[in-house]
Amino acid sequence: MSNEEKLEKNEENISRRDFLLYAMGAWATVGVGYALYAMYKTWEPLPEVMAQATVKFDLSKVKPGELKVISWRGKPVFILHKTKDMTKCPERTVAGEYTVVIGVCTHLGCIPNWEPDKKIWHCPCHGGEYNACGVNIFGPPPRPLDIPPFKLEGTIIVLGEEGPEYRKMISG
């Protein structure tokens, strides 16, 4: 009799064998599952990356008519201090006189250039144009430049956090 045959004869043990086999399988699955979870976690952005999630900027540093570009989550954000001769759009204006938009063309993701004499943004890739409010006025862009989530603390704007002004702006 070979060992295998011996084992097969051992019928009263079959059920216990099955149970043990399942228990071993379940046990191993838990371990592998936890290892995979730990591996999954290692790919999450590091604290230093998460620190870039919010950026503070003092709006009063931008002179009227001036455009400042700051980096938020790796993308450029345009902060334009509007003057009276620029297109008006109270529903897209922050703190009464600023346009704050993500400087990424809504067409294919190029970065539009500001043309101070025409007071528009012109996208070098496919000629899309946006007015001083960041609203598309010409070319392929399907929608205005996006407004980043923000919160106002006096003249300081916190990008990356949703304040009441931002919520009002996107709902309105």
Partner: protein, 277 residues
């Protein structure tokens, strides 16, 4: 049975090797660390007592040209740059000094800093012309302004960061590198991982009296109290090993999990091997 014997032999051989290369070799290499002495009684006995009001005037007249005391709104008479040019080290703000330094040491230190710190090149000039009463008044004043409860990090910032950086905590040494090199001969080590590089007992004795463990070092003896030393060492340990608690907790769970595995696999082995002789 036979397998258990083999296992026993294996364990004994491995254990002999382990004891040889870890505890025994460490003992031969590093010896035992002498215990710290927080009484600082190698210095003349001095029990400072005095009048904080007089102390403030004395402080302004004798100390404030170099030291600030922000807790009482006193600014130092010289800025950081001037101080570095004259001393190659930035004199500390003394707001909390009385809370972290042993009073008896502090009195001796004011009188003769080079002797108290055991560093002949210590930057502060001796204040030997002050009388014992005057020193007592100054210390009484310092005591009246010092915070009672200080965290490890605050003590570190008061006692260590004049010369040491703690890169991983984004703490930069107050004195600039070039001046530290002139003052101490080299740039003092970064403290970010000191809690892992050295054991706790070593750090405590070293801070207590650097010359005992590293003869000739330019690190001054700072006369910290036992409590302040322990808090600073605990802080160093925490920043060097931030996952300690997590590690213990996960470790326990993993071991419990593994023991369950040992039980199941043992049952399985017995089942399969039952009929094999």
């Amino acid at each position: 049975m036979k397998e258990l014997k083999i296992l026993a032999v294996l364990i004994i051989v491995v254990l002999i090797g382990y004891i040889g290369i870890e505890p025994y070799a460490k003992h031969v290499m590093h010896g035992t660390i002498p215990p710290p002495d927080f009484s600082y009684l190698d210095l003349p006995k001095f029990e400072p007592a005095g009048d904080p009001v007089k102390g403030k005037e004395l402080f302004k007249a004798n100390c404030a040209s170099c030291h600030s005391l922000k807790a009482d709104g006193i600014e130092a008479g010289m800025d950081k740059k001037t101080a570095e040019l004259s001393f190659h080290v930035v004199p500390p703000d003394l707001s909390n000094i009385a809370a972290i330094v042993e009073p008896h040491f502090l009195a001796n230190f004011i009188r003769d800093p080079q002797n108290a710190t055991k560093n002949p090149k210590f930057a502060m000039p001796p204040m030997g012309y002050l009388t014992n009463d005057q020193i007592g008044d100054i210390i009484a004043y310092l005591k009246s302004k010092a915070k009672k409860e200080l965290t490890g990090k605050e003590i570190l910032q008061d006692a260590c960061t004049r010369c040491h950086s703690v890169k991983y905590q984004k703490i930069q040494a107050i004195t600039s590198k070039e001046h530290l090199k002139t003052y101490l001969g080299k740039i003092p080590p970064d403290l970010s991982l000191m809690g892992r590089a050295k054991e706790k007992e070593y750090l405590i004795t070293f801070i207590n009296n650097p010359q005992v463990l590293l003869p000739g070092t330019t690190m001054p003896r700072l006369g910290l109290t036992e409590e302040a030393t322990e808090k600073v060492v605990m802080y160093l340990d925490k920043i060097a090993d931030p996952h300690k608690e997590e590690r213990k907790k996960i470790g326990m769970w993993v071991l419990i999990y593994m023991l369950i595995g040992v039980a199941i696999t043992y049952a399985w082995k017995r089942k399969i091997w039952q009929k094999i002789h």
